[in-house]
């Protein structure tokens, strides 16, 4: 009997191979995303009191296609893994991510290089299809446009403790807001970031993660459009230092850790940004403006946060609420003080969403938003959104 058992053992110890992947093709996934938006007719949307962070996605009224995302990823060899993410819209393809990453460098170290979503904050690394609301929080819109993309290198180190503690540093070109294209044109880094993330399970049902991040950017000739004191559009050009602190926290609950039926997620992020340097307000007298190419000091100290809760109350159905609030803080326009006026304002926004996911691959969402991010405007919005994922089964971060 024993001999037979061992013979069986010998024959069956070799892999049957059922779970092996037989092709070298990368995992491909395509995200289809679009919406219907009912909102006030506002020609130029901007967050009052903040220098605009470039273009803003998804503010078209009526039916619109967000960009579609195409993602490819695979292990390159025994040492590296690679991923690319293309955002495709009419007439343009944006490279959102294109990076390689080391596979198990050892001692808890991981190096990433190329274009990647920065590890700062909590939701910065989430792609739009993984957002819990139809739009990005005001904090991220004001801070980074949508999220901070870095062209450079990232080093992460995971400590050997049973509590999750991760340190990360990044050095990058820094051409994206709050950096600027010209700021990256130098030897060294136009943008540097550092972060620490700590997380654990409180018990079987509760888990959490908290983080503290810092970003330094050195924009050179960063252009933003503002209204001057005569309410005429003016082009401002900023050069100097931009330092941002971010604090983030997320807490998740599911009964017995089984998120299948019900689960709850609470997440909040706070940022504080200080910018110091010189600002030029380009001559707009031809348009009836008051700017006259004066260059002067620019010091700004601004902050903001969002807090959101999402509850899956039964399989496939979730409801969520998000509160956004920014503080335009103190801004000193120096020699331009009479020409550009700082608006002391606290932009706020309330968002209420209900979404339905027939499977892990599809989601339909209704969102009601009361947007008071522009002074004097209360914009009550209704958004209907879909996000569909075709192809490879994604693995989302915590």
């Amino acid at each position: 009997m024993k001999r037979i058992a061992l013979a069986i053992a010998a024959c069956c110890a070799a892999p049957v191979g059922a779970a092996e992947n037989h092709s070298f093709n990368p995992d491909i996934s395509l995200i289809l995303q679009g919406r219907y938006l009912n909102a006030e007719d506002i020609a130029e949307r901007h967050i009052t009191g903040f220098l605009p962070a470039g273009h803003d996605h998804g503010s078209e009224r009526g039916f619109s296609l967000d960009h579609s995302e195409l993602m490819l990823s695979a292990n390159i060899d025994q040492a590296f893994r690679g991923q690319a993410n293309f955002a495709v819209a009419d007439g343009e393809v944006e490279i959102e991510e294109a990076w390689f990453q080391t596979l198990g460098l050892g001692q808890g170290f991981t190096v990433k290089g190329g274009r990647f979503l920065s590890g700062i904050g909590y939701s910065n690394e989430q792609h739009p299809h993984a957002w819990d609301f139809a739009d990005q929080s005001l904090v991220y819109q004001a801070l980074f446009g949508a999220h901070l993309i870095q062209d450079g290198v990232q080093l992460r180190w995971l400590t050997p403790t049973t509590t999750f503690i991760e340190f990360g540093v990044e050095a990058a070109r820094g051409q994206f807001f709050p950096g600027a294209e010209a700021g990256g044109d130098k030897n060294g880094a136009g943008s540097t970031a550092a972060f620490v993330h700590i997380g654990d399970d409180w018990n079987e049902s509760h888990s959490w993660r908290a983080g503290l991040s810092y970003l330094h950017a050195a924009p050179k000739a960063r252009e933003s459009h503002l209204e001057d004191a005569s309410e005429t559009e003016a082009l401002t050009v900023f050069s100097g230092d931009s330092n941002t602190w971010l604090v983030d926290f997320v807490w998740k609950w599911a009964p017995d850790g089984n998120s299948r039926e019900r689960n709850f997620k609470l997440q909040a992020e706070y940022f504080q940004r200080e910018e110091k340097g010189e600002l030029t307000c380009a001559d707009n007298s031809a348009d009836g403006g008051v700017c006259n190419d004066t260059t002067g000091r620019y010091n700004a100290d601004q902050s903001g946060f969002y807090a959101q809760a999402v509850y899956q109350f039964m399989p496939r159905w979730r409801v969520g609420y998000r509160y956004d609030r920014l503080d335009s803080g103190t801004v000193d326009f120096g020699a331009n003080a009479g020409l550009l006026e700082h608006t002391d304002y606290q932009p706020t926004r309330h968002g209420l969403m209900l979404d339905y996911s027939p499977s892990e691959f599809s989601r339909l969402r209704l969102q009601l938003t009361r947007d008071e991010s522009m002074r004097g405007v209360t914009d009550n919005q209704v958004t209907l959104q879909y996000a569909m994922s075709l192809g490879a089964h994604g693995a989302h971060r915590f």
């Binding site: 110890a13 070799a14 892999p15 991981t110």
Partner: protein
């Protein structure tokens, strides 16, 4: 409450018990594989189990605590066959741990040593939660644990060569006890042969095939898709034409669909321990199958 406590304490207990003289750090994705490592390694391994019997192994998040465990693991023992596809790749990538990467000795995928059934003839997500490699819930047929145990013991010996004889000895001992138990279970379960049953999800296919029972109907319209009330009413209608003796579900699934169907068609709803710790009796691997068979026999009376 008592059962809940056992579920909670068992993985911790396993870990605590073995942590004292640990040589190998093992992270097991599911309790059954943690228990198998414990059978083969004894006190030579410190075992941490990533999931509990109350959790659906398909719907786990790559939580910070799990990434931290993967960071220090010498060996990752998982089911494979895409069961952990939504979280395990992230654990491997984020861990910065070269030992547990695909292709390395520290990465053990049990499904590689078993012939899977219910392989889909075409891959199309309109068919529900399809696993390309086949049905991944193979551990509920205890015969499948023999080749896995053999391969796992060889792997333990490869990683921890100093204790190779220890693992070989424990494997031989485990195989003997397991073979004897299979014979005992098969004799005990003989009256169940040919019995028609309904299943809430396709995670009992290997068990039913082993015991010669017949899954007549699924409560899910497509695999992994929650049944609607209308669909369950249709199931009850169909059960009038083709009656079954009981409806089976695992403890991590909601009891509601099985209970509703059971009430409306006058049959028994049976909760079976899907893994170690899922019931009071299922304190180790042997207890899982002892309890499964006793519950099936009881429900068939």
């Amino acid at each position: 409450m008592k059962r809940y406590l056992i579920c909670l304490l068992l993985p911790i207990g396993l870990w605590w018990h073995s942590a004292a003289h640990a040589a190998l750090n093992v992270l097991a994705c599911e309790p059954e594989w943690g228990a198998l490592v414990a059978e083969l390694a004894g006190d030579k391994a410190a075992i941490h189990v990533a999931t509990t019997p109350r959790q659906d192994p398909h719907r786990i998040e790559a939580r910070p605590s799990l990434i931290a465990r993967a960071r220090n693991a010498d060996l990752l023992v998982c089911n494979g066959a895409e069961l952990e596809i939504g979280w395990l790749p992230l654990l491997q990538r984020e861990s910065g741990n070269p030992r547990v990467q695909p292709g390395q000795p520290g990465w053990f995928e049990a499904a590689q040593y078993v012939e899977l059934i219910e392989k889909p003839s075409s891959l199309d997500r309109s068919a529900g939660d399809v696993h390309a490699a086949g049905n991944p819930h193979f551990h509920v047929d205890p015969r499948n644990l023999l080749p896995v145990a053999t391969a796992l013991a060889a792997r333990l010996a490869e990683i921890d060569a100093a204790n190779a004889a220890h693992y070989q000895h424990r494997l031989t001992d485990f195989r003997q006890r397991w073979q004897a138990a299979i014979t005992r279970w098969e004799q005990r379960a003989a009256p169940l042969r040919g019995m028609p049953v309904a299943v809430q999800h396709k995670n009992w296919s290997y068990l039913l095939r082993w015991l010669g029972m017949k899954a007549v109907i699924d409560l899910e319209p497509k695999s992994g898709v929650e049944p609607s009330a209308a669909y369950l009413a249709e199931v009850v209608q169909r059960l009038r034409q083709t009656p079954v003796r009981m409806v089976l579900r695992a403890s991590y699934h909601s009891p509601r669909p099985a209970q509703w169907v059971a009430q409306h068609s006058g049959i028994a709803a049976v909760e079976l321990p899907f893994t170690v710790g899922a019931s009071e009796q299922a304190t180790d691997l042997f207890g899982v199958y002892d309890d499964i068979i006793e519950r099936l026999l009881e429900a068939s009376q």
